[in-house]
Symmetry: C2
Subunit: 202 residues, 2 copies
DNA sequence: CCCCGATCTTGACGCGGTTTAGATAAGAAT
DNA sequence: ATTCTTATCTAAACCGCGTCAAGATCGGGG
């Protein structure tokens, strides 16, 4: 009986595809995105430079897979934050903090996901919008609006919130400490303060 | 026998430094950031691959100079928008639209400025904060707050606005048209609507 | 007028992505 | 079990890239 594979049974190596992705993430964490070359990944996995070509069309496709894993993880984290908080301000803050937190805790991978490889957030909206990263973010902000807000304004709030999260993550990722940040209790408090402000914080 | 140049008289080439930067921008506009190699720039300028090393320490320094020009242009654009509008909501929208507009009109250069080469927005705050790109943005948003807002909240509003601009630019740069965008009158109207929303749009 | 030094070229090195041809080994066919 | 097939991997090569060392060139100061 043919092994119906969750992971296709490999021949020589033992699931090189998987090994390559993991090697990539290892390099990404330890040496940064600059060191993430196809050859380096192959070295790390202990195979020849040409071996990866039997599992990925080219370097971009390998990196896309790595980025895809990051997207899945981030999505999972957002879903968790959503599930653990009732719709409204608390959920918005929790979801937002989860997003920024992921970016800060996985800087190289985050960068790969949203800068180097654009395959992900690009393209027409995914199958189920509300289960996508932008979808969850937009929803969380939109639902945090007061009840009297029009649907259009609600949607604008969602987009504005989503945009602010992307920008905030970049700013925190690239910049040194802002004086205000420490005043407000480090990253945590700072993020929370900005998010609260975004949802009509007063 | 020497053609008297407008630019300071160089030796062999005729201000190769300048020519290299301009060649870089030409490649950036036409072929994108992926084609922006040192050798390609040298080719475009009609010199040997090693020639640039007499004007720039390495490839990064050349790209930094190109990015620096972009930063100067963007800064100029923001200053103009600031000067042409009195402090408050109108200035905030004008400045914000100028920022996003620059990013959309110079996608490859914008990306070089804020993704590929980080020398610019990175590092401790510049000499005069209020004459920097983040400074002008933060100020514009902070000043658009109602008068009864506390200094801390004002500053938070500035940072939130700045972050939203960065994110909005990315989103518009990477994504296809959002349905809402066309409803609101294309990029222009969309940006304006989001910005208005950011400053307590109700 | 000659020499100095800034500027540019030539040629090379090592690394990267990718392709081609060949070796290897697992499963299928006989 | 032996042979065949095919996926997998290696070896070797090609070309472009960033960079450096050595030499050629040329403008201006002595």
């Amino acid at each position: 009986m043919k092994p119906t594979r969750a992971t296709p049974k490999p021949y020589h190596h033992g699931d090189l595809r998987r090994a390559l992705i993991e090697a990539s993430r290892r390099i990404l964490e330890t040496e940064g995105i600059a060191a993430l070359s196809l050859r380096a990944v192959a070295r790390e996995a202990g195979v020849s430079p040409a071996a990866p070509y039997h599992h990925f069309r080219d370097r971009t496709e390998l990196l896309s897979e790595v980025a895809h894993e990051g997207t899945a993880e981030l999505l999972e984290s957002l879903k968790r934050a959503r599930a653990e908080n009732k719709a409204g301000r608390e959920r918005m803050i929790a979801v937002g903090a989860a997003y920024v937190g992921y970016g800060l805790n996985n800087p190289a991978l985050y960068r790969l996901m949203f800068e180097t490889i654009r395959v992900l957030e690009t393209g027409p909206l995914p199958v189920d919008v509300h289960e996508s990263i932008p979808g969850i973010l937009v929803d969380a902000f939109a639902e945090a609006m007061p009840p009297d807000v029009s649907p259009t304004d609600r949607r604008l709030a969602g987009i504005a919130g989503w945009a602010a999260l992307r920008g905030l993550t970049d700013i925190l990722r690239y910049r040194q400490l802002d004086p205000l940040k420490t005043e407000l209790g480090g990253d945590e408090g700072f993020i929370r303060a900005v998010l609260e402000h975004l949802s009509f914080g007063r």
